[in-house]
């Protein structure tokens, strides 16, 4: 203790910086501001501009009145002086859009919940029960992650037909888990491994069953992992397109992405406003969810990559 104090006294700068041991500044003081402007801020803002412009354009088009939409010479197209909610109103009250939103939400939530339940059991069994062949099953699940929907949708469509699920929400609720389970099992395996197994040994000695251990010890400790898996799966469901396009046919059953592409394209020259309003409203739930759980989202994405 005294040594630390004397060391601090010897170096006044250490007193200012030492307590937090802050390395965030790193070596950036070695660079001058003009240099950083050119090598860092300029390229960064250019990339950000390109990444975000489509969303600005989408939102702007959604609130532009029709006449300004197509007349680019009288007023600057980059701004609107008379924003209107007409497109969004039309979308919500004159189309099936609320129904499509509901379908998407129903499918996404059910498929995600089903997948997470199945994944929790599978991941726990692979990590902790270590039954014979657990390693191989883990590897097989990773391989299943690499099977893309675009090579599965043709045989799956005939399977869906055979089971009598065609054009029902169940066609999607039961097929989406094939995309979600491999991912979330893999993610949860990583999380379960970080939970000290001594806790479980204690519980076993106290006479707890595996079921009680899973429910009362492992799951409460894995909540961050569960949230990550949930959000990521939900986003994947919302984003899925090819299964929804193939397995659903009636307008009322469609999900938002499929419905927007197929139902709004009617040759009407003024369709752009409602198309963009549809795209905007369809993205908002995900962006809001993302805004609340950025950290979980990023850890899900990187966790899945880091094996």
């Amino acid at each position: 203790m005294t040594e630390v104090l004397s060391a601090k006294a010897a170096d006044p700068r250490a007193v200012l910086t030492a307590p937090a041991a802050d390395h965030t500044e790193g070596m950036s003081y070695l660079e001058t501001l003009p240099r950083r402007l050119v090598t860092l801020y300029l390229p960064l803002s250019l990339i950000l501009l390109v990444l975000l412009f489509p969303f600005y354009w989408m939102a702007l088009t959604a609130i532009k009145p029709d006449d300004q939409l197509l007349d680019m010479n009288r007023v600057s197209p980059f701004w609107t002086t008379a924003p209107t909610l007409k497109h969004i109103y039309k979308l919500l009250f004159e189309t099936y859009y609320p129904l499509w939103l509901w379908n998407t939400m129903l499918v996404a939530v059910s498929a995600t919940v089903l997948s997470i339940i199945a994944s929790v059991f599978a991941a726990y069994a692979i990590v902790r029960l270590r039954y014979r062949g657990a390693q191989w099953v883990g590897g097989a699940i990773f391989l299943a992650y690499l099977v893309p929907p675009s090579i599965l949708f043709i045989p799956l469509s005939s399977v869906v037909f055979q089971y009598g699920l065609f054009d029902t929400p169940f066609a999607l609720i039961l097929t989406y888990p094939t995309i979600l389970i491999p991912f979330s099992t893999w993610l949860l395996i990583g999380y379960f491994k970080t939970i000290p197994f001594e806790l479980e040994e204690c519980a076993l000695i106290d006479g707890a069953s595996r079921w009680q251990i899973l429910l009362k010890i492992v799951l409460p400790l894995a909540v961050p992992g569960l949230i990550s898996a949930f959000i990521f799966c939900f986003t994947l469901c919302w984003n899925e397109f090819i299964y929804a396009l193939t397995f659903l046919s009636s307008t009322q059953n469609k999900t938002v992405p499929v419905a927007i592409v197929n139902e709004f394209v009617d040759g009407d020259i003024y369709r752009w406003g409602s198309l963009m309003a549809g795209a905007l409203v369809g993205s908002l739930p995900l962006v809001i969810l993302y805004a609340f759980f950025v950290e979980h989202y990023v850890s899900a994405m990187t966790g899945a990559v880091k094996e």
Partner: protein, 317 residues
Amino acid sequence: MADLAIHADRAVPREPTAWARLKVNRNWLGFWFMMPAAAFLILFLAYPLFLGVWLSVTDARIGQPGVFVGAENYEWLWDDTVFWLSVFNTLLYTGVASVIKFAVGLYLALLLNENLPFKAILRAVVLIPFIVPTVLSAIAFWWIFDAQFSIVSWSLRHLGLISSNIDFLGDTWNARWSVIFVNIWRGVPFVAITLLAGLQTVPPSLYEAATIDGASRWQMFWHITYPLLTPIIAVVMTFSVLFTFTDFQLIWVLTRGGPVNATQLMATLSYQRAILSGHLGEGAAISTAMVPFLLGAILISWFGLQRRKWQQGESND
């Protein structure tokens, strides 16, 4: 004496019943714990995977089970110029988009790894293109690439760089570059954020030591950052290549494979043949033909960037 009494009193432990033993048997419990996941994956993944291969050697149509016709579908595809065009398009699309995604993504990750104001918000914002469903952002690009009212054409015209509107999606090569651009736009955030996670695990002391030794920025990147990052690059690029190769939604929204099949990928072609024209067998053959390409792509990006032993603390062989 007292000892003996105690022993006599103690109840003889009962032999556990078969059920009690089964309840703690790992393999038995493991079987039941794996059951839900296995049921989904076998019914809706493994079975269709084999069914797909079977369909590709039959003449099945929608609503009509086919009979075995051998390799006829494949022979048919072999002579089909549209199929070979789609193979070319897919390889071009995957190759160009993956390389640029990797380069720009790594660059963006390096930029974001610097000491910046509002770091957390910047990182969150970068990921937005990845969050928004592909179809919905592709619709925004459809409008941006409109033949008549494109904002890009408008801006370039007002800057005096071009005299007439660019036909982004109507011309063969323009359409190809446009869809590749949108794919890159959507993929860069994923690559950047995952590589950033890798960059943050590189100890800063290595850079400090290199600076003292007089290393240039390029030398620091090439001898410190890149070698330490290769394992994560391998995984990220494997995924990136895989998802680019099998892309469907972006093309479907922007061009539906047009103009004149210029942007037809293998996935969109198989959808057209199998679902729209009803030739399930032929579509399944195209899907099955994707598998060797996929395996090749995975093997190249995996083994090409394989982790080396010294990265795990062992000596190289």
